[in-house]
Amino acid sequence: MGMGLGRSKRHINIWSILSLIIILLILVPNLNIFVNIFNEPNDTWDHIKTYLLKDYTINSLTLVIFTGLFATIIGTSLAWLVSVYDFPLRNFFKWTLILPLAIPPYIAAYTYNGLLSYTGAIQSFLRNNFDIYVNQKYFDIMSMQGTIFIFTMFLFPYVYTITRGFMSKQSADLIENARLLGKSPTSIFFRIVLPLSRVAIIGGVSLVVLEVLNDYGVVNYYGIQTFSTAIFTSWFGMGDIDSAIRLAAILMIIVFIILFSEKMLRGRKKYNYTTTKVRPIRPYELKGMKAWLAFLYAGLILMISFIIPVIQLMDWALLSYRKVLDSEFFSLALNSVLVALIASFIMVVIALIVANNNRLSHNLLSKIYGRITTLGYSIPGAVIAIGVMVFFINIDHRLYWLYQLVDSNSGKLVLSTSVVMLIFAYVVRFLGIGYNAVDSGFEKIGITFHEAARTLGKNSIETFFKVDLKMISPAVLGGFLLVFIETLKELPLTLLLRPFNFNTLATKSYEYANDEMIHEAAVPSLLIVLISFIAIYMYNKISQRKGA
């Protein structure tokens, strides 16, 4: 690492140029929307400030804090359990605990309410067989606690996956040395593993937090007023997009402060391998009571967050599949998968470029780039959708001459009535997820190997393909998987930006659920779960072969 001239030279390379282009592409559609912040506030804004803002902020914060806390506890403890210990069905739990991500939270919310409600399986069973009538208040999941429960159970895998990916590659030496030195498992966990995994945990939790802040489906159905309901109320209830965007901007600033202060607090501290030996931890076999407790804990979580809702959905699907399944349904499924695959591929490539740039040039700008990738994740989907739409309509106007060159009959709106716009929006929205995964992969391998390769005369591109990419491929795959599932489930962007006659499994299940036809919604929802299931299973096979 040189000084002065050498340093400034490093700033301009292929990675920084590409990153800049990408970041600009992500920023422009959002800026489009955010210029509105500088408009004078109107009467509606006063109304929002007086009647909505305080309660909504408190509700949002309560949701974020508790969900974040519980998701961290469950996610981290499970990651630690399956990485370090051996207990019955450990290998099964290892990958199945990611599965809750396959169920969109709003579907989970409908499912759990259906299960627990007066007409649901539990109460009907009690009523019809034992003539037991229960007080509804013990079965009412539509409350703050219920909302936290849903978010925790269906979002904790973010923390689990990213942290587990990190821990399983944790330098075994550290842990084994600590064991030899007679440290207890608890003290190893708190003194060594936790600090080392902090980046991964925080990466996971920040996804959870953003997802919670952004959710509209669950809170709307359960009647919990949050920041995102305020955005929708002011926009759609009062027809005031300016106030809606102002709210979105405030939300984003809060998110940015959280994300940035974490990065700043961490400062220059870097945790990564110092030796060339990267070998997985040899699991420590639990015996007797302890083994069963571990089994029960993992089993219970899996039960609540995946098995029970899936069984409920299957039950409903049996009631309605005749009405729903037809030849169109097949093409719809194909649509969903294809679009999600393309979008995920693009996102992972972009995430690699930006994350690599961040790693190679330790300046503030590259750090900001990293944060900007998560920008899309912190703005409500509908707001992004409008930004992207304006951006694409603009492009269409500029490219009209080109369209006419290709086809003299062409209409003006070409890109903005095509699936290209939708895919672009997916990228803006979910890039942060891919980025976090890839970035924590880079954090883990550190810069030593890269520098070694560079010293041996390879340039940064060769090094990237021959050294870095190979070392972080599990992280890349993990990122791809997460992004794929997210895109498959995505709703607000798809609803607003889709071309004519374009349906996905998510939009289909939303349409049914929104029309209060939860039985019909079960079929497309189950297919989302099934496809995600396959994706996760394949990922598991691949990463096993790699010895992760």
């Binding site: 292929i14 140029i17 590409l18 509606t44 009647y51 909505l52 309410n113 409600s117 007066y118 007409t119 009907s124 009538y133 509804q136 009412d140 539509m142 409350s143 709307n220 159905y221 359960y222 009647g223 007023q225 109320t233 926009w235 209830g237 009062m238 027809g239 997009i241 309605s320 009405k323 509908a382 409008i386 739409m389 309509i393 269409d396 080109l402 290709v406 086809d407 009959n409 062409s410 209409g411 003006k412 709106l413 070409v414 890109l415 903005s416 009535t417 095509s418 290209v420 340039n459 591109i461 609803l495 607003l496 071309p499 004519f500 006659n501 349409e511 049914y512 929104n514 209060e516 039985h519």
Partner: protein, 376 residues
């Protein structure tokens, strides 16, 4: 090193450009039905190749639709329309307000010819945002009663629903049920079930009351209803009826067709619920029960106007109206069509006699009032 960077960059740029052009030309060929149709009418000079192409296109008439109704019934109707006329119906489904926003942003270049939304207030918003245009059609004016049509003929109601009360007959003396206004009476303390203020059906109900009795009275009324709520608003319309049967409250404010859907549900427990509640139409001796419509409007920059008007007329026809009434338990707007048997069994009722545009005019005020009185 520097050279390589630039080479890579230019290769990348070329690839991106290639993909870009590839995509855009793909799109053009992929969607001939949305674009070429207009040309059939406008173009005068054509080459041989074009004529050939045109002949094909003549058969492919289209109409492009933005709708926030997602019912399978609607899809069936569009298919029927295509069978009858040969005009294909292309659909983008979304949420009403977002589709309106999309129309605003697309401006005169929009591909959409028609906008259908499930709420008169939203249709009015589309109108005031200058997104619709008047349609003069004798078919439409004969088929649809005047109060369900925009004054300037910018939108037309195509189905109707009533916001009714579903009550527990064992706990509520039907004699005591009278008006919406009465729901604010302290005698109903802890008895009223209704969903949240973010729901458009409630917003439109409150807007209708503003139109009838003014802001002040409505605000007082809303405060009274909040006071009488059996629980904080949660769940959808079906959930309100269920809560009545579960004993959480006695009276649910909900839309009529949900009861129809619940009675015909594939889930036996839900059928039981729907059969155990009774239905009441408020304000029969006064202003009439609050109704709302799903309606359709021709977009200002519609490029397939003729086809679009054909579809509008079709939706108001007896065939289509019967379909709406039978399959979705909505009330037909066409007076020649009988409601479904189930709906008839609930009896006839007097409807609120206001022009439904007012629901849109007072929507923002309604939301404000609900926020102010703490209707969650």
């Amino acid at each position: 090193m520097k050279k390589k960077v630039w080479m890579l960059l230019s290769v990348l740029m070329i690839t991106v450009l290639g993909v870009f052009v590839g995509c855009s030309s793909d799109v053009v060929t992929e969607e001939p039905e949305t674009k070429e149709e207009v040309v059939v009418e406008e173009k005068t000079e054509t080459t041989d190749q074009d004529t050939e192409k045109e002949e094909k296109e003549v058969e492919k008439q289209v109409v492009n639709l933005y709708t926030d109704r997602h019912y399978d019934t609607d899809e069936e109707l569009y298919k029927l329309f295509t069978e009858e006329t040969g005009i294909e119906v292309n659909v983008v489904k979304g949420k009403g307000d977002e589709l309106i926003e999309r129309l605003v942003r697309e401006g005169e270049d929009t591909e959409a010819d028609l906008l259908i939304t499930a709420d008169a207030g939203r249709l009015h918003r589309a109108k005031t945002s200058d997104l619709l245009q008047p349609v003069e059609s004798e078919v439409l004016t004969t088929n649809i009663p005047e109060n369900l049509v925009d004054q300037d003929h910018q939108w037309f109601g195509i189905t109707m629903r009533a916001r009714i009360l579903a009550y527990a007959p064992d706990r509520v003396n039907v004699e005591e049920l009278t008006t919406y206004a009465d729901l604010a009476d302290p005698k109903w303390n802890d008895k009223i079930l209704v969903r949240s203020s973010t729901n458009i059906y409630n917003q439109s109900l409150v807007a209708s009351l503003i139109a009838i009795q003014g802001e002040e009275a409505t605000k007082e009324w809303a405060a009274g209803v909040v006071e009488n709520m059996a629980r904080e608003p949660e769940g959808n319309d079906r959930a309100q009826a269920t809560a009545v049967v579960a004993g959480e409250g006695d009276i649910a404010i909900m839309n009529s067709y949900y009861i129809g859907k619940m009675i015909n549900s594939s889930e036996p427990e839900e059928v039981k619920v729907a059969e155990s509640v009774k239905i009441f139409f408020p304000d029969q001796d006064t202003n009439g029960t609050h109704i709302n419509v799903s309606g359709v409007g021709l977009t200002k920059h519609a490029k397939n106007q003729e086809n679009a008007i054909k579809l509008m007329e079709f939706l108001s026809s007896e065939t289509a109206q019967e379909q709406y009434a039978q399959a979705n338990y909505e009330y037909p707007v066409n007076p020649n069509v009988e409601p479904s048997e189930l709906l008839q069994s609930w009896g006839e009722f007097k409807t609120q006699d206001i022009n439904l545009s007012l629901l849109g005019e007072y929507n923002a005020k309604a939301v404000e009032i609900m926020n102010e009185v703490g209707w969650k």
